[in-house]
C-alpha cells in the first residue's frame, strides 16, 4: 500500500501541475499599463511555488516508497545534515526566495497605489449600491456637483442624490449605468459606497478595490485596448451580489466623445 500511496501522490502532484503548465485556465490578456509587473510577479511566484510544490510532494512520495516495509532489524538512519541542514534550507532557500518575491513585488504594488494619478487623468465617479454600479462624469465644467444622500430616489433614477436645481455644478453631470472610457487615457476612479461594502473588479484591467462606506477611496488606471470588459462586484453585499455587474467599454477618443454626448442628452 505504501508504494501505491507514493505513486498516487506523484500522480496527483503532476496532474495538478498540468493545467498550470498548459495554461488551461488563465487570466485574460492584460489591457492595463500597470499590469505587466503584476503578471510578472505572478509568473515568478508560480515558478517558485510550483517547484516547491512538486519537490516536496515527490520527495515525500519517494521517502514513503523507500522507507516503508523495511525489515524489523533495519537500522534507523539520520538524514545527512540533520535538523540544522533543514533549518538552513528553509531559511536560505525558501526564506530568501519569498523575501525576494516580497521585495520585488513592492514595485508592482507601488505602481498601483503609491503613485498619484497624473494631472491629465480623467475623473469618473463610481457608486456601488445594492445591486448595481452607476457612474458619473463631471461634464463640460469638469466639476462634480455635491451629493445629497437624502435626495436619492431610485424610481426617479436619481441614483447619486443630485440636486441640479440648487447646485449649478450638478447641472451638467452625466450619470450612466455602464462605464465607458477612452483608450490610452488615464482614468481617476473616485469610488463611493452608497449603502454597504462592495468591490470593483475588472480582470483585464488588473484592478480590484473595495468600496468603503464612509471612506473616499480611489484608483487610477489606463486601458490600452479597445473592447468591452466585465465589471463585477467581489465584496459580499446581499442576495443580489452574484448579479451585481456592468460593463466597461474602452473606446477610441472619437467614439467616447460621441458616446458621452449621447449620454448627456439622455440626462
Amino acid at each position: 500500500m505504501a508504494k501505491f500511496f507514493a505513486v498516487t501522490i506523484i500522480l496527483i502532484a503532476i496532474g495538478s501541475a498540468i493545467p498550470i503548465v498548459r495554461g488551461t485556465w488563465t487570466q485574460p490578456v492584460d489591457i492595463s499599463t500597470h499590469g505587466y509587473e503584476i503578471d510578472h510577479q505572478y509568473h515568478e511566484t508560480m515558478w517558485e511555488a510550483g517547484v516547491a510544490f512538486l519537490a516536496a510532494q515527490i520527495i515525500l512520495a519517494v521517502f514513503i516508497w523507500k522507507f516503508s516495509n523495511r525489515r524489523e532489524d533495519a537500522e534507523i538512519r539520520r538524514l545527512p545534515g540533520g535538523a540544522t541542514g533543514l533549518v538552513l534550507a528553509a531559511v536560505l532557500l525558501v526564506g530568501t526566495e519569498v523575501l525576494a518575491l516580497g521585495v520585488f513585488g513592492m514595485n508592482a504594488w507601488a505602481k498601483v497605489y503609491f503613485a498619484p494619478p497624473g494631472p491629465g487623468a480623467m475623473p469618473i465617479q463610481a457608486q456601488a449600491g445594492q445591486f448595481a454600479f452607476y457612474f458619473r462624469y463631471p461634464g463640460p465644467d469638469g466639476t462634480f456637483g455635491p451629493l445629497h444622500p437624502d435626495k436619492i430616489n431610485e424610481a426617479n433614477e436619481n441614483f447619486f442624490g443630485l440636486d441640479p436645481v440648487s447646485d449649478p455644478d450638478s447641472k451638467d453631470d452625466i450619470v450612466t449605468a455602464e462605464m465607458a472610457i477612452p483608450v490610452n487615457q488615464e482614468i481617476h476612479l473616485l469610488m463611493h459606497a452608497k449603502d454597504l461594502g462592495h468591490s470593483f473588479y475588472v480582470r483585464e484591467l488588473r484592478v480590484q478595490q473595495d468600496f468603503v462606506p464612509g471612506l473616499d477611496v480611489s484608483v487610477h488606471f489606463t486601458a490600452t485596448k479597445v473592447g468591452k470588459y466585465e465589471i463585477v462586484c467581489t465584496q459580499l453585499c446581499g442576495l443580489g451580489h452574484y448579479n451585481m455587474k456592468t460593463y466597461l467599454e474602452v473606446m477610441s477618443q472619437e467614439d467616447f466623445d460621441s458616446w458621452l454626448k449621447q449620454q448627456a442628452a439622455l440626462q
Binding site: 539520520r78 535538523a83 540544522t84
Partner: protein
Amino acid sequence: MVRENMATTVHQPPQIRTRPDPSRLGQGRNGGGNPTRAGGSPRVALDDSSPASRTGIWVAIAAITMTFAAFTSALVVRQGASLEAWHLVLPRILYLNTLILLASSVTLKIARRRFRSFLLGAEGERVAVLRGLYATLALGLLFLAGQYMAWMQLKAQGLYLATNPDSSFLYLFTAVHGLHVLGGLAGLLHAIRQLGRSDLRASTLAATSHYWHFMDILWLYLLFVLWMRL
C-alpha cells in the same frame, strides 16, 4: 546544535524532590493547596501560591486585558473615522466611585493580612477577616451603585447609549467593567462562604484578591482613557 533525540540536560536519573508537605496531599477541590487549618508547618500553611490558581488568575487577567485592549482600539479607530467631536464631560460621581473602589482594595488587603494571622492560629482573627471581606463587598456594591448613578446623570443630560460615539463608549466601558466587577463580587461571596465553613484556602483568597486589585487598575486605566479621549 540540534540533536536527534530530545535534548535535555539529564544524564542521570531524574532528581525527585520530595517536600515535607503533608497538607498538600489533602483532599481539596480544584487543586489540593492548603486547607484553612494547616496540619503541617506554618510556613507551608502560609504558602498561598498554589501554582494552578496563581497561573489561572493571571491567565484570566491576560484574557480580560486583551478584551479591553480591543475595546480601546475600537474607541481610537472610531474617533479617527469621525469628523466630529463631542467633548463629553464625565459625570463627577465617577471620580467618587474611583475612590470607593480603591478603598475596597485597601479593605481587601487588610483582610488578607488578618487571614494570615488567622492561619497562624489566631482564631479570634476570623471575625476581623470576615469584616474586611464584607467591607470589600459592600464597597464593591457601592461602586456599582455609583456607576449606575453616573448612568442616571448621563440620561438626565440626554446622553444615551446611541446618542453619539462618545456616549456609546462611556456606557460600554462602564458596563463591561461593571460586569467583571460583579464577577469579582461573586468571588468575594464565595470566599466569605468558604471562610464561614473553615474551608478557605490562602491560594483562593490570593486569587480573588489579585482579580479584585486588577479591577481597580483596569478602572483607573479606563477612566484615564475616557478622560483623555472623550
